[in-house]
């Protein structure tokens, strides 16, 4: 039996309940393909995502973290994604400043009708992170298995 040693990234996708999670659903019902490396975590709103969630994901061995929410202006709670946008801009800039590859983090606005965009985004993100290789700079050695 041959063992496949090819690197597969672990991707955490935070999806807002109202848009992106439904978009992911639509991608599924439309039979659109995207890699199984993406692990979706449903959140009530993109602004529910505390910067610590993202750091924690990296600490626990994620190779890339993507945050998906409603398009600006379409937030179910009116303004959540505007807050998330500022927060994530600053956090990503800080991670870049500390020398963490900036392609490992991404924010993408995906509406409930954009199943195709969801699948395309995930395919692209997984490709990008696969090329970067495993996350070494933000990992926590205790979480190594």
């Amino acid at each position: 039996m041959s063992v496949n040693n090819e690197f597969r990234p672990k991707i955490v996708a935070f999806c807002c309940n109202w848009c992106s999670y439904a978009g992911a659903d639509l991608a599924g019902t439309n039979r659109l393909q995207y890699p199984a490396d993406v692990k979706i975590i449903r959140v009530p709103c993109s602004c529910r995502v505390n910067p610590m969630f993202i750091l924690r994901a990296f600490q626990r061995g994620a190779d890339g973290v993507i945050l998906c929410g409603c398009h600006p202006g379409d937030c179910h709670y009116t303004s959540g994604n505007y807050f998330a946008r500022r927060r994530m801009t600053l956090l990503f800039s800080m991670l870049d400043y500390l020398g963490i590859e900036k392609e490992r983090t991404r924010v993408e606005w995906v509406s409930a009708a954009e199943g195709a965009k969801f699948a395309a985004t995930m395919n692209d993100f997984v490709d990008t992170v696969t090329k970067l290789g495993p996350n070494r700079r933000l990992e926590d050695l205790r979480c190594k298995n």
Partner: protein, 325 residues
């Protein structure tokens, strides 16, 4: 200093305050401790204001202003921004504080100064631009401006934030050619590998003493995430490669938009980690992306992290700006 003592005695005498928080001599000749003076006599005897009074008194007022009676405080320009910010956040009861704005020409890094002298120091006289240091083998003289704290060498303003009750001396001006972002810009221009190596070197020295958190006027939560054992980053020596990064990223993020850049974090760090560079990165980003903002300057202005606009840049702006890849 005599002017300040006169003012303090006057405040005690006319009943404006029943105690004053200020600096006093510590154990070593260049140590300055913080003390609450309860009478004019002890104030006159022990109060000190000289080149080593770098400590920011604002944070102590959170607790002190909650007590009965009015407390007097002397605020240097950078302290006054922390004070104004804490009032804005409803942490300090302004009606219990009498704030006196005082001038500041920069404070000394006492550790750097002590390291520059070989013999044991037993007394230091602050003569303004000169420091006369009495050691066991005779006196030496040092130029005060050669041993400035990092926060003072790149001073951003000599002008006080609004909110002080009176001013002693002349009100200063903002420093136009402030160099506080120079090192941040230098780091930004490096490659990610160089930046990672730089921060790895700096942050791996962290012993998690929490001094930066305890001294920071913006870190004033009653229940801190770092005290929660379930957070995974509670206080303990770092056991792995990421823990100290995580602590410092989170801490800097928690004060982003509220940090007044008073520089206390770097001043107290026993490991000489340039923590202000993390906070300054956030300040620089906020200034560049969302418009100039100085925490504490305007009591009516909204904090940048909540003051969104529909036309804000997307987070992908990070891929395009900054240094080499």
């Amino acid at each position: 200093m005599q002017e300040l003592i006169k003012k303090g005695k006057e405040l005690f005498a006319n009943g404006t305050v029943d105690r004053i928080i200020g600096w006093t001599r510590g154990e070593l000749p260049y140590d300055r401790e913080i003390r609450v003076f309860r009478c004019a006599e002890c104030f006159e005897k022990d109060f000190v204001y000289d080149a080593f009074c770098g400590a920011n008194l604002s944070k102590y007022l959170i607790e002190e202003s909650g007590k009965e009676g009015k407390i007097g405080v002397f605020l240097k320009p950078c302290d006054s921004y922390s004070f104004a910010q804490l009032i804005k956040e409803h942490r300090i009861k302004k009606e219990n504080v009498y704030a006196v704005a005082i001038e500041c020409y920069g404070k000394c890094d006492s550790r750097a100064l002590a390291d520059s002298v070989e013999d044991a120091i037993y007394w230091i006289t602050d003569n303004g631009p000169e420091l006369k240091i009495d050691t066991v083998s005779g006196a030496v003289v040092r130029n005060t401006y050669d041993y400035m704290l990092e926060k003072c060498a790149a001073c951003k303003t000599k002008k006080h934030a609004p909110g002080c009750d009176e001013t002693i001396g002349d009100e200063g001006e903002k420093v136009d050619d402030c160099t506080r972002f120079d090192i941040v810009a230098k780091l930004e221009a490096m490659t990610p590998e160089e930046r990672f190596a730089f921060w790895r070197g700096e942050l791996s020295r962290c012993i998690r003493c929490n001094a930066c958190r305890n001294v920071c006027p913006a870190c004033s939560c009653e229940h801190c995430v770092f005290d929660n054992p379930a957070s995974g980053i509670s206080q303990k020596a770092a056991a792995d490669s990421f823990e100290e990064n995580n602590f410092h990223i989170i801490r800097a993020f928690h004060v982003a938009g509220r940090c007044t850049d008073c520089g206390e974090c770097s001043r107290v760090c026993p490991q000489h980690i340039p923590l202000h560079l993390l906070n300054r990165k956030f300040i620089k980003d906020i200034n560049e992306l969302y418009g100039e903002y100085q925490a504490g300057e305007n009591p009516d202005e909204r904090a940048p992290l909540t003051n969104y606009t529909k036309a804000d840049c997307e987070p992908s702006v990070v891929y395009k700006r900054g240094g080499k890849n």
